[in-house]
């Protein structure tokens, strides 16, 4: 099963695909993808994100081997849903998307062994974890100004039940900018795989239902500009769309 959260006609609804290209709301109404406002498909608790968790991307950024997964945290204030708009500040040189498999925790996980780890997963969705590299400084990398901006964590379109994703370790990821394929990878190339991440994190912090792990991105990040349409796609999970907008659209720099 796959489920979305959308705003429509004065309320927030859960919705699922209606099998004919639209959505069926929980109250029975059929709506199109365009007439609803898509929210993140669940309310995120702690957002854990991985840096350099694909060998090719680590090489792209000139990183050597790592002693433990490179983890950073994000705040839920940065989250937006499918078909949302993200601000691109004027004058920055390098703002890029990152297509990532998002793993949503379904029950309290503490000191979990990797052999049982997938039992703690509620489901999966697509994430686009934007970064602005201009703001990267060498203190608590990657700092929140790079990675925790409003609209910088795009989640959706659906939360896909874990039972519908038999092997999270073999999913194709693709990103398209204005229709052009710019990023392509597969979760089999994760340096630390999904069970390994749950084992590692739960060894020192209790994970709870609604916590989410953004598992990192493969190589192929390029700059995007205002007006660009970015689609991140993961096999079996869907296509997550986002559009970049100018400072002016957000009342900045006027």
């Amino acid at each position: 099963m796959r489920q979305a959260r959308v705003a429509f006609s004065g309320a927030v609804h859960t919705a699922e695909p209606d099998g004919r290209g639209g959505l069926r709301l929980a109250d029975g109404r059929h709506v199109t993808e365009q007439e609803v406002v898509w929210l993140a498909p669940f309310e995120p608790g702690t957002i854990v994100a991985l840096g350099l968790n694909y060998a090719d991307h680590a090489k792209e950024l000139s990183f050597g081997s790592q002693e433990e997964p490179l983890v950073f945290l994000k705040g839920p204030g940065s989250v937006i849903g499918h078909r949302g708009v993200t601000r691109r500040p004027a004058g920055v040189k390098f703002m890029h998307y990152e297509c990532e498999l998002a793993v949503v925790i379904g029950q309290t996980a503490r000191n979990v062994n990797r052999a049982n780890a997938l039992q703690y997963v509620a489901g999966y969705c697509v994430a686009n974890d934007y970064a602005i590299r201009d703001y990267l400084e060498n203190w608590y990398r990657p700092n929140l100004r790079v990675k925790n901006r409003d609209g910088g964590t795009v989640l959706g379109p659906w939360l896909v039940d874990a039972s519908d994703v038999p092997d999270p370790g073999n999913l194709e990821l693709r990103t398209f900018v204005n229709g052009k394929l710019v990023q392509h990878g597969n979760t089999r190339d994760l340096i630390t795989d999904v069970p390994g991440l749950i084992e590692y994190l739960s060894s020192f912090m209790t994970l709870d239902a609604g916590d989410v792990i953004l598992t990192g991105t493969p190589e192929g990040v390029v700059n995007v500009n205002e007006g660009d349409e970015v689609i991140c796609e993961i096999e079996g999970l869907g296509r997550l769309q986002n559009t970049l907008a100018s400072d002016a659209a957000f009342g900045r720099g006027i």
Binding site: G75, G77, Y140, L144, M205
Partner: protein
């Protein structure tokens, strides 16, 4: 999450806690010339923030087996009262509901380049309280004495007069890129060197007019 009494809107905390690194002059002074050397290569240009996730907000503070002592980051915590986006220094304090004490516990680490979140994100590592004191009761958040006691020994006595970015400026710079919501907490920066405590010791943080927060390390 621990319940922290709060008698002004929004009446409860959101559970989202952001901390500020090297925002007390003593923290920069302790680093000295090393801020210009690798791996940092320069003092921070923008606020350096970190997140204390929700698992840190439920106690107790447990000293891990492989560590002798933990660091006590004693912060003034600003509690947001109204949705705060792109604030100016002039109006920033209008968006504050009140203040509390944040005890940001860390496993000691000396390099701030890309520290593992294991050092700051363990269960129970962020006691807060004892209450949210309304903004009106704190005339100037940039002139408060902070004292840290370990087993009743005074270990640190510092003032928020020495913040690199005073509270209004910090709020303006942070909300330029991330909106803070009602009930969010921004811990504005601890002094250095941080006092340390072992398992079995009692830690107390006092801030003028904000109260006294007591925590036991186990």
């Amino acid at each position: 999450m621990q319940i922290v009494p709060m008698e002004v809107a929004p009446y409860r905390l959101s559970g989202r806690v952001y901390g500020t690194l090297v925002n007390h002059r003593s923290a920069l002074e302790l680093l000295g010339d090393s801020v210009n050397a690798a791996p940092y290569k320069a003092a921070p240009a923008a606020p350096v923030l970190y997140i204390k996730p929700r698992n840190t907000l439920t106690g107790p503070v447990v000293v891990p087996n492989d560590v002798e002592e933990l660091e006590i980051g004693a912060h003034l915590g600003v509690v947001i009262g109204r949705t705060a986006c792109a604030l100016s220094e002039q109006n920033a304090l209008d968006f504050v509901a009140g203040y509390l004490i944040v005890c940001d516990v860390s496993v000691p680490h000396s390099v701030y380049y890309r520290p593992s979140i294991r050092f700051k994100a363990r269960d129970g590592f962020c006691p807060m309280g004892p209450t949210v004191v309304p903004r009106a009761a704190v005339p100037n958040p940039d002139d408060l004495q902070i004292k840290v006691f370990v087993d009743d020994d005074l270990r640190q006595s510092v003032t928020t007069r020495d913040l690199v970015r005073p509270v209004p400026r910090l709020l303006a710079d942070v909300t330029d890129f991330m909106t803070l919501s009602p009930g969010d907490v921004l811990a504005v920066g601890a002094a250095a060197p941080a006092p340390r405590a072992r398992a079995g010791q009692k830690v107390a943080i006092e801030i003028d007019g904000v109260g006294r927060l007591e925590t036991s390390f186990t």
